[in-house]
């Protein structure tokens, strides 16, 4: 068989990316001398149309039956070149890609050493590809339903887009209402649109849409399966109110034995109180109350008068015995839109959040300036005073190696927006303490200029300390003004911390649940930062919104649309081809020792008692190869990663040139 092997080796220059560090001509000339190689060429861009055509031509004219391309990472162009082989009538798996860009030219400076490394890697690939066998891809059908996790603006937009195209969408939200952070905002920068006015119609549309199943107070508990065929178990927590019976009259809240609201209200970031039976906010979707078992007297003592049940009367919407439910659904694709959490200001004690009552976070001020907020839009501080001067501290928990090194992208703009709103409502003096003002979006710079012209003071400098200025609750801000070149102390009534965006506290658990990766700072990792920004390395799972990284509302919506588009493209194809890298048992060599059986995390291996041999169910096998490595008799083989192929690769990289 080896005699008939004719390998073509193609060494890509990638412009200067490879050619700048590796002597590609020398590498190609060397490759041409390797056993089995019929021809070797170097070319400026192998992935370009003429580059691909070169391979197709050679396959036809030079009778090539194996191809090695030494270029970038297989993650980028392995598919491209396999397709080239297919077009030229060869089995696409008669191909091996060598990564001489990410793994050589980009990481080494020594031209000699990088060139030697490229030769070694190509030699290994040539030795390996000679053993490649023709393989067939597995075709699997795709379930047309989609799961969207997270009901903030990104999840809402993705769900509506998919549902409008006729797909059935399950939207799972862990809070009692959808809306996410956007529902808490007052106005949105830079247009000063009222957040609720633009968000709540979309929330209602979700509820009304015949193609959307909305599950609030629900979390994904388990994910099984693979692209096109995920089985997802969703845990639906009890609301203690029957969602389809309650009409949202809110009389039970009025009737609750708690005459005063006593529980900190999460929606108002603790600035107001609610009762144990409550509705998160007036426009909540679903428009249904919820009972908090942690604080409800009936749950705590079992001896409540249950005035809520009395007032609900014949409707009988309240059910203290509601139980948690597990629902299992089949979906073809999943969009994660699980959002972010706000940086906790307490982590920077020198800003005094939590210690001085007149230090606020920006989200708290969003609620204060909101007409539906705890103060009906009046900016009244915790001590009852109205501020005459306000200092907004930028980059709290952002752009700081001690907390988060990254920029949270939205704080400059929302700080300017809050400066505008505070000035408009109170005519207070407003200071913005910034490192740099970052206003790169559409209309952002114009908004910055407008706020500056309104008379907001902009001080370039990072605030070092916040401490009491006197006994009347005023606070002193100490800052180095880097434009004046001096340390300043500025007394204000109110300090607002522009807290940054962080990954959700349980982002790591969620990531493991869905088998995806996180980038260093903990946000979900996209497949490619530029060319696959909403895909993940797990096929069929897409990202939208701030779970992938801090972004503003327009960007979240755009990404949600893109994720919905990717999911649609996947589903409407109807089926998908899977890599043929599954394992199989060579029955004649299997000794029936059963070592492999417990190795498989997918229960793909079973033991045939009559034949006394192991068997692998190809549909369940995901191609990790763990059983192959475990088999003592070498009687399990993995397509694309067969033992002899890897032994050839080992020998190839080590064989001295």
């Amino acid at each position: 068989m080896h005699d008939s092997v004719r390998v073509g080796v193609y060494v890509c220059h990638c412009g200067r990316n490879i050619e700048g560090t590796i002597d590609v001509r020398e590498v190609a000339e060397y490759a041409a001398t390797l056993p089995g190689v019929a021809l070797a060429r170097d070319y400026r861009y192998m992935c370009s149309d003429p580059g691909q055509e070169l391979i197709r031509q050679d396959i036809r004219d030079q009778d090539l039956n194996r191809v090695v391309v030494a270029a970038c990472s297989p993650c980028l162009h392995e598919k491209t070149f396999r397709h080239v082989l297919e077009q030229a009538g060869l089995n696409p798996y008669f191909f091996q890609m060598v990564n001489i860009r990410e793994h050589a030219s980009w990481v080494h400076e020594d031209r000699r050493a990088a060139t030697v490394k490229a030769k070694d890697l190509i030699r290994a690939a040539v030795r390996r590809v000679r053993l490649h066998r023709p393989l067939e891809r597995r075709q699997v059908s795709i379930h047309p339903d989609v799961l969207v996790v997270g009901g903030g603006i990104a999840g809402i937009h993705a769900a509506l887009t998919l549902a409008n195209s006729g797909k059935h969408v399950y939207l799972v939200e862990r809070e009692p209402t959808i809306g996410g952070h956007m529902a808490q905002f007052d106005k949105t920068f830079p247009t000063l649109d009222c957040a609720a006015c633009i968000l709540t119609p979309k929330m209602t549309a979700v509820k009304m849409h015949p193609k959307i199943t909305l599950w609030t107070l629900s979390e994904v508990a388990r994910v099984e399966g693979y692209v096109g065929n995920y089985q997802v178990t969703v845990r639906r927590k009890p609301r203690y109110v029957l969602e389809d019976v309650c009409i949202g009259c809110l009389e039970c809240i009025e009737a609750c034995v708690y005459k005063q609201a006593k529980v900190p209200d999460a929606f108002n970031v603790g600035l107001s109180k609610r009762k144990p039976v409550y509705i998160p906010f007036p426009q909540a979707v679903p428009q249904v109350v919820v009972i908090d078992p942690e604080t409800c007297i009936e749950f705590k003592s079992g001896r409540c008068k249950k005035t809520c049940v009395e007032v609900c009367a014949d409707r009988k919407a309240i059910d203290f015995h509601q139980q948690e439910e597990l629902k299992t659904i089949d979906v073809g694709a999943i969009i994660l839109a699980t959002g972010f959490q706000v940086f906790d200001g307490r982590r920077l004690p020198y800003y005094g959040y939590g210690a001085y009552p007149n230090v606020y976070t920006a989200l708290e001020v969003e609620r204060l300036v909101n007409a539906a907020g705890p103060t009906a839009g009046e900016i009244v501080m915790r001590d009852g005073r109205r501020p005459r001067s306000v200092g907004i501290v930028h980059c709290v928990g952002s752009r700081d190696v001690h907390t988060n090194a990254y920029c949270s992208r939205v704080c400059c703009m929302y700080s300017l927006k809050l400066a505008h709103l505070i000035k408009e409502r109170t005519s207070a003096e407003v200071y913005n303490f910034y490192i740099d003002i970052r206003a790169p979006g559409k209309g952002f710079e114009e908004f910055y200029n407008r706020v500056a012209e309104e008379g907001t003071y902009l001080v370039r400098g990072k605030v070092a300390d916040v401490y009491p200025a006197d006994h009347d609750g005023r606070l002193m801000l100490q800052v180095e003004d880097t434009l004046l070149g001096m340390v300043r102390k500025i007394p204000v009534d109110m300090v607002v911390l522009a807290t940054g965006l962080e990954p959700q506290a349980d982002a790591q658990q969620v990531r493991r649940l869905f088998n995806i990766s996180c980038s260093t700072e903990g946000f979900f990792l996209e497949r490619h930062p530029k060319l696959a920004p909403v895909s993940t390395f797990t096929e069929g799972i897409f990202l939208a919104g701030c779970c992938q990284g801090p972004k503003d509302i327009p960007d979240s919506v755009a990404q949600a649309g893109a994720a919905a588009g990717e999911a649609l493209a996947l589903i409407d194809a109807g089926s998908i081809e899977l890599e043929p890298n599954t394992a199989h048992v060579l029955a004649e060599a299997c000794s029936g020792c059963k070592t492999c059986v417990p190795m498989c995390p997918y229960q793909a291996i079973s033991f045939n008692e009559t034949e006394k041999k192991a068997q692998i169910n190809e549909v369940l096998c995901k191609g990790c190869g763990t059983c192959v490595a475990a088999c003592p008799s070498g009687s399990i083989q993995q397509n694309l990663f067969e033992d002899d192929e890897i032994f050839e690769e080992i020998a190839g990289v080590l064989e001295y040139a």
Partner: protein
Amino acid sequence: MPEPFEPRIVAFFCNWCTYLAADLAGTSRLRYAPNTRVIRVMCSGRVDPQFVLDAFAQGADGVLIGGCHPGDCHYQEGNYKALRRVALMKRLLREMGIEEERFRLEWISASEGDKVRSVINDMVAKVRALGPLRRPAAPAPSRELIEEVIH
């Protein structure tokens, strides 16, 4: 003057974490020692102990296995299988007189391009300090042993 010794290290990197981390090191243009040769496998659990022995037998001065962090395996627990095999391998290699620094298992996630650099640089420095792997020749059987076997 003979050329200074440059160790040759064979690295088995899993497709989902460490191979991607090495790609990230590339796109971030991190610079590291050119002594490793990466062989891609789908999972660190695919690394058959025979691959490691074969690499040493074929002339590798060091073998590096890179996998996903515990709990992060793309295939749930392949990295745990790798960990177990590595523990056994280490004992076996010690018996064979192969120094511990020559065989290493590292958890490197897709976002840890910098760890690829530091691990490879560190391993290359350590193996360079050890010098080339000299597989000891089998000791010649003693006269007494031969006598004993004969009689």
